[in-house]
């Protein structure tokens, strides 16, 4: 596809005047229609996107969920990729808790993990921005930089044809956020809040992405546990007819995700 430069340039300087308009669209589509063209890539929600909804139900004590873990690296890049996703999700939790020291720690760990993955050069600027903004309590900036860090690493890995690591970073980030969400809900269960764990299709997508990874990307016993946990979560993270996820299921989700996160951190 090519375009004339004279078409593109005026676009950039356009003013944008918005107005509400009606659009013609079918009232219903058959999602099983084989002719539908579905875009395959998925944008995994970042933890803060979910926490924003949870905070609307009342103030949460996020500081209880900030944990300091020792990160020991080994030669397994797949594990490092999952750790990277987990650490970024820890960063979002630290931002919710407005814990400057925890965010600074995350900034440093992000850089260390990025170095191990060979993408430090792309991340350094964002990691520094995280540390600086945390020092000044600029939480929206920290959130933005964490998202940029995550996306920069994903993009860089795609460029480097490390596609399997892309899926593992996404999976790690989602796992960290889900573990904390389930822990918050376990401590302060509400039917309304529980619906945030209603993500069966997202789990299905993550599972599919994980299952299609080559065997070389899933070496190590923790990756068997990933498969088992995702299978388990797919059935747990499905709301009942009232739209809720029961307290018992929330406890199970919390336990299951915590066990997997612990296993990823343990060597």
């Amino acid at each position: 596809m090519v375009m004339n430069r004279s078409v593109l340039l005026p676009l950039i300087v356009l003013g944008f005047h918005a107005a509400v308009v009606a659009q013609d669209a079918p009232g219903r589509i058959d999602l099983n229609d084989p002719n539908l063209v579905m875009v395959e890539s998925s944008a995994i929600p970042i933890p803060v996107e979910i926490f924003t909804s949870l905070d609307k139900l009342g103030t949460q004590d996020w500081s209880k969920h900030v944990v300091e873990r020792e990160i020991r690296l080994d030669a397994n890049r797949s594990r490092t990729a999952m750790l990277f996703g987990l650490v970024v999700s820890d960063g979002f939790i630290a931002v919710q808790a407005q814990d400057k020291e925890a965010v600074r720690r995350v900034g440093r760990e992000v850089l260390r993990l990025a170095s191990s993955l060979g993408v430090a050069g792309s991340v350094e600027q964002h990691a520094n921005a995280i540390v600086n903004a945390a020092g000044q309590g600029q939480w929206p900036v920290v959130r933005k930089e964490l998202d940029k860090t995550r996306q920069t690493v994903l993009n860089r890995m795609t460029e480097m044809r490390d596609d399997e690591l892309v899926a593992l970073v996404s999976l790690g980030g989602w796992l960290g956020g889900t573990q904390t969400l389930a822990a918050v809900l376990k401590q302060n269960y509400s039917v309304e809040g529980s619906d945030l764990l209603n993500q069966p299709d997202l789990v299905k997508q993550l599972k599919k992405d994980f299952n299609t990874l080559p065997a070389r990307a899933k070496r190590g016993k923790v990756f068997n546990q990933v498969t088992q946990t995702l299978d388990h979560l797919e059935s747990l993270m499905r709301a009942d007819a009232s739209g809720a996820i029961s307290e018992g299921k929330v406890i199970e989700i919390s336990l299951s995700t915590k066990n997997l996160v612990d296993s990823i951190y343990d060597i």
Binding site: M1, V7, V13, L14
Partner: protein, 167 residues
């Protein structure tokens, strides 16, 4: 088919907007003979910048949307559609923007629930029809489908980029 490219930050966006303006002015000063076809491949980053520029007014003020860095990209033929599966969370508001390169490309965005039912959403139009956006407040947490449809106002398939924000 989807593909991703390196992403540009907000500072980069502002710089690009300024640069874009400067380049545009220079383009207007050129001899018409210079307008002989200069075919360039549309960059996804450029499309993302156009979408981000449309988003800017919604990212400030008292109740701003927070722009995500994730994007979706692809190509769609005139008269055809694409569906993007998205996980949305109750109590949040979401704003999706789409941009295509050709100013004559009329694109629509619509949102369907997990049963394939069209949902009411606020659709916004911009100065040219190749940019559109949609605001929704899901009443349930779950999977939704964003439908992109390109009208037959252009003859060629169009690359597109979708960005989104939440609050």
């Amino acid at each position: 088919m989807t593909f991703e490219r390196p992403r540009t930050g907000f500072a980069g966006l502002l710089l690009a907007v300024l640069l874009g303006g400067a380049l545009s002015l220079r383009a207007q000063d050129r001899d018409p003979a210079d307008d002989a076809p200069v075919e360039v491949a549309p960059s996804l980053d450029e499309l993302k910048l156009v979408a981000q520029q449309a988003a800017i007014p919604h990212l400030g003020g008292g109740n701003p949307f927070i722009l995500r860095e994730s994007t979706w990209s692809g190509t769609v033929e005139p008269g055809k559609t694409r569906l993007i599966q998205v996980q949305l969370f109750k109590r949040n508001d979401y704003h999706f923007w789409i941009a295509m390169p050709d100013r004559k490309a009329a694109v629509n965005l619509n949102l369907y629930n997990g049963k394939g039912e069209l949902l009411e959403a606020k659709s916004l139009r911009y100065e040219s029809p190749n940019i559109a956006s949609l605001i929704t407040s899901p009443t349930e947490t779950g999977v939704y489908y964003l439908r992109i449809s390109l009208q037959t106002t252009v003859g060629k398939a169009q690359p597109w980029t979708v960005i989104y924000a939440y609050r």
